[in-house]
């Protein structure tokens, strides 16, 4: 029974007043309408979930039948996307790239509560490393050279930001990350002999086959998701959340908060490096507007918030939702209105559902199977 509870908890922390009201009404209705369908379905699926829990529950958290169904459907949908969504391959590919960013942001900022406004500098570092290498060193350079180097540079930049600022408590870290982005943006202009300024640097696409390109992005994305979910559910994730909730308690437990904060930043910088390289190749180039500007950092944050911070898979879902709204569903509104609507949605989630939409869904599904525990 306790393990079941832990699952729900691992997925969901931080209960807000407004959110609990929303959840109560949601559950009340769920009991009536969804419950009629959900409960039998849950009974049907439970044996499968039980088998999953015995095998992998320890590592990735235990699930109920319906939760497992959601994961399977989402996974299946992603893997088979070229079959059903040829028209949407571009937004789906971008969604996958941004999912990597959102998850990368989450393992550091979402978990520890040390909010970074500078993650676009990290993805920018990766993109620009790749760009500068092919532009100035050798246009034919193999991906096996550019990719690891880009990730390495991103991690190094991450540590350069983190080491002076993460020793300190409070908002210093956020400040340094914020300033870093502004500085990076300026540098791309100041060093335009190297970076081509606002025009940016052209990078070859992986392939012109959109289906193949989609898989070249989705596979790394799923690997990042699995790794970070594992880390987030492990003791490391627990310590990172404890840092957010009560850093003194972490010290008192004999754990070095600074060490764990730095580690979370490394865990975050590596996916940011991966995502940055992917974006450079998907976009066929790297430039300050699509990589570096602070708005991009805030988009990553928005995706994590919408999905549900400190759950890894929530930000993944949030990224697809955000990109879907941004590039498909809200395009008709026009440039500014579309963004205004998106930011308003993020604000509404922050105020009324601060645990995130996907976490709400996850809990609602869990609650339907809840009577068994």
């Amino acid at each position: 029974m306790s393990d079941r509870e832990q699952t729900g908890r691992g997925i969901g922390r931080l209960t807000g007043r407004a959110e609990s009201v929303l959840r109560d009404t949601l559950l009340a209705q769920g009991a009536g309408v969804v419950g009629a369908v959900g409960r039998p379905a849950e009974r049907l699926l439970w044996p499968v979930a039980e088998r999953y829990n015995r095998r992998l529950g320890e590592r990735f958290g235990e699930v109920t039948g319906l939760q497992l169904l959601l994961l399977v459907v989402a996974f299946g949908g992603l893997v088979t996307a070229p079959l059903w969504g040829q028209d949407y391959l571009r937004p789906l590919t971008l969604g996958a790239v941004w999912a990597v960013f959102a998850m990368g942001w989450d393992i550091q900022s979402g978990y520890t509560g040390y909010i970074s406004f500078g993650h676009s500098a990290l993805s920018g570092a990766a993109g620009y490393t790749t760009g500068l290498l092919v532009l100035h060193l050798n246009p034919e350079l193999s991906l096996f050279v550019t990719v690891p180097l880009s990730i390495l540079v991103t991690t190094a930049l991450g540590l350069a930001i983190a080491v002076p600022s993460l020793r300190l408590r409070g908002p210093y870290f956020s400040l340094v990350t914020f300033v870093t982005v502004l500085l990076f943006y300026r540098l791309t202009k100041a060093l335009s002999e190297w970076t081509n300024g606002l025009r940016g640097i052209r990078v070859d696409v992986f392939t012109y086959d959109l289906t193949l390109q989609y898989y070249m992005v989705v596979v790394p994305m799923l690997a990042v998701a699995a790794t970070l979910t594992y880390v987030g559910r492990s003791d490391i994730g627990t310590v990172l959340i404890a840092i957010r909730e009560n850093e003194d308690a972490v010290s008192a437990a004999g754990l070095d908060p600074t060490k764990f904060k730095l580690w979370s930043f490394v865990l975050s910088a590596v996916p940011m490096g991966i995502g940055g390289v992917l974006l450079a190749h998907v976009n066929a180039g790297v430039d300050p507007q699509t990589f570096v500007i602070v708005d991009n950092s805030i988009q990553m944050i928005a995706m994590a918030v919408i999905g549900g911070m400190s759950s890894i898979l929530g930000p993944l879902g949030g990224a697809f939702l955000f990109v879907g709204l941004r590039d498909v569903f809200l395009v008709g509104l026009g440039e500014e209105l579309r963004w205004l609507a998106l930011w308003l949605l993020v604000l509404l989630v922050l105020v009324f559902a601060r645990d995130g939409l996907f976490r709400l869904l996850w809990r609602a599904l869990g609650a339907l199977g809840g009577d068994r525990r």
Partner: protein
Amino acid sequence: MLGDIASVIVDGALISAVYALIAIGFTMVFGVGGVLNLAHGALIMAGAYTYLSLVSDSILASVTLHPIVAFPLTVVIVGLISYGLYVVLVRTIEENVVITFLATIVVAIAFTELVTLVFHAQPYQYSVVPGVLQVQALGTRILYVELAAFVASWGAMGLLWYYVTKTDSGRSIRATSMSERGAMLTGVDVPGVRARTWLVAGGLAGIAGVFLGGIGAAEPTMWLEPLALAFIIVVVGGIGSIKGSVAAAYIVGYLQTATGQFLGQSVRGIMSLVVLVVVLLVLPQGLYGTEFVHE
């Protein structure tokens, strides 16, 4: 060389006064509620655009006010926007620092889109006080708008000083920033104090916005620099300390001006980052930061 130094002294004093205005409101809001208001830059932008709309006939054709009327009106309007932001949004979420932090930056970025929607992306130039003062003796020139900003800044700081030291309403703000519990025990209406602080901070941001827009231009990205500056100044001065903010505003202002003058304008912005890193490493609690007694 002498002229260079003289112009650094004069320019530094002028720009630092605006920096102080930017930072004080930011630090006050943090002092009384523990909220780092990342929409502070957006409030400054609101000041520039409000003033622009009131004085220029190209925006709202029916409204063209004289600067003498438009200026105080702008300050009041931005103060009210800030107050509204607190009452409508921040008050409902302020118990969670992370959520508040994120919500205020989202407000800032949403505001950028709103401004772009209404005013479009191009920069607007407007004049607050036209003209240039030639100072022959020093071989330097001063824009009247910079002079006006300097005077307005010190005027506002004087009023603020009077408010927080001589009036009950202002003293309760100071008491709350020293010890919220103490203030509450002595019967201070803490939620009221917070709302009032946002009002005052908004007013100060409004003043800063009018002059920043006047010296440069009003454009949808103009909130970023001031926010970064406010952040840096407040850390250098010690988070929550008004006195520290003023001192740090002058340090950062002068350093930037001097670097711009002697090392070139392109390194100017980098200087404040260098100061920031040095302060973080050597003096993390800032110039006037305090270690609090817990017992």
